[in-house]
Symmetry: C2
Subunit: 220 residues, 2 copies
Amino acid sequence: MQNNRVLCVISGGLDSTVLAYKLEREFALDFVSFDYGQRHGQRELWYAGLTAERMGVTHDIVKIPDLGAFLPSALTDQEVSVPHGHYASEQMRSTVVPNRNAIMLSIAAAIAAGREIPLVSFAAHSGDHYIYPDCRPEFVDRFNRMLLSALEGSVAVIAPFLNQSKTDIVVEGAILSVPFASTWSCYEGGEYHCGKCGTCYERREAFQQAGVEDPTIYEE
Amino acid sequence: MQNNRVLCVISGGLDSTVLAYKLEREFALDFVSFDYGQRHGQRELWYAGLTAERMGVTHDIVKIPDLGAFLPSALTDQEVSVPHGHYASEQMRSTVVPNRNAIMLSIAAAIAAGREIPLVSFAAHSGDHYIYPDCRPEFVDRFNRMLLSALEGSVAVIAPFLNQSKTDIVVEGAILSVPFASTWSCYEGGEYHCGKCGTCYERREAFQQAGVEDPTIYEE
């Protein structure tokens, strides 16, 4: 085991990018991303690749091309429109991809085990708890217990932002000089951030509350 | 929720095929198989498809084409040879695909949640416990606890053969008139079962101990 290594699950979004910059100060990193047919995938993954390139980090993309077709979610189904409005509202439930974190973390843990990397990181934060059950502390605890059985203690998941808000993450990113403009949040996956979907709302609000200048170009 | 439905994780092997015949008596079934670059995958999956066709069951194959390349195992790496000999021996550890069941069951649970199917079955049995940590009762318990958090109780995993031996499974299969010749075990994935790898040993021994005629053609 190489105790100074972490395999980062990185989407190309703000949270996982700031987390990579935070972990880079203490650990050697590998990146893994997932292409499961998400509508904003090409934008996200391009930015994840950009961050990998800047950091000089190995970056693998695991493709599960059929997964989107099997799962009903506004994030993967082109016929369901992405709801607009604030994250913490019932209509945003249509953006839940069921069991997404269990799937991504199980695959990441397998890759980490193969490379003898003891830690897998992901960037769930407190703002995700309301809608996404697989971003809650209870899920992370139970996932780690499951992993203790499945991999006999060789790999554990860490989620350093689990009890922090997105505003806290923006503050931390500003201190770490993260190039925020090189991260992608919008679920629509257009040329610019739409400014109307839940994750655009959340992104904008976090910069405002953090008192950090928001370099994002929003269509609206 | 449709309480009479089960999504069966089926490989095309003896255990999962007998389990499908057992569950068919009580439940309406869907099948899901995984193509993760396993060396014997094409044989296995062909037989899984044959069983689906005979039973008139929907059968989806989830492809994770890169997974094999990321994972070190004799089952996915063409440059590592499949060890010969009995299952319960140290050298068979090279056939462990790390975290395989967590990956397959996480994806199956997501698909089940999307279809409102409350149960996912898999065919781990007591003979798998020694080498494969993710076939042990503790793993199944902890996986279900994790799933309770991730999917809020909508899907659970069942493993009806968890405390039975492969010999018990052959006995049950004989009672259910399972066409054993239409199942595939061998890790080599040649034209016939090799008769020398761990799973061929185990298959042969189970028929002998069960006192059931073995219709398998072995090369040796």
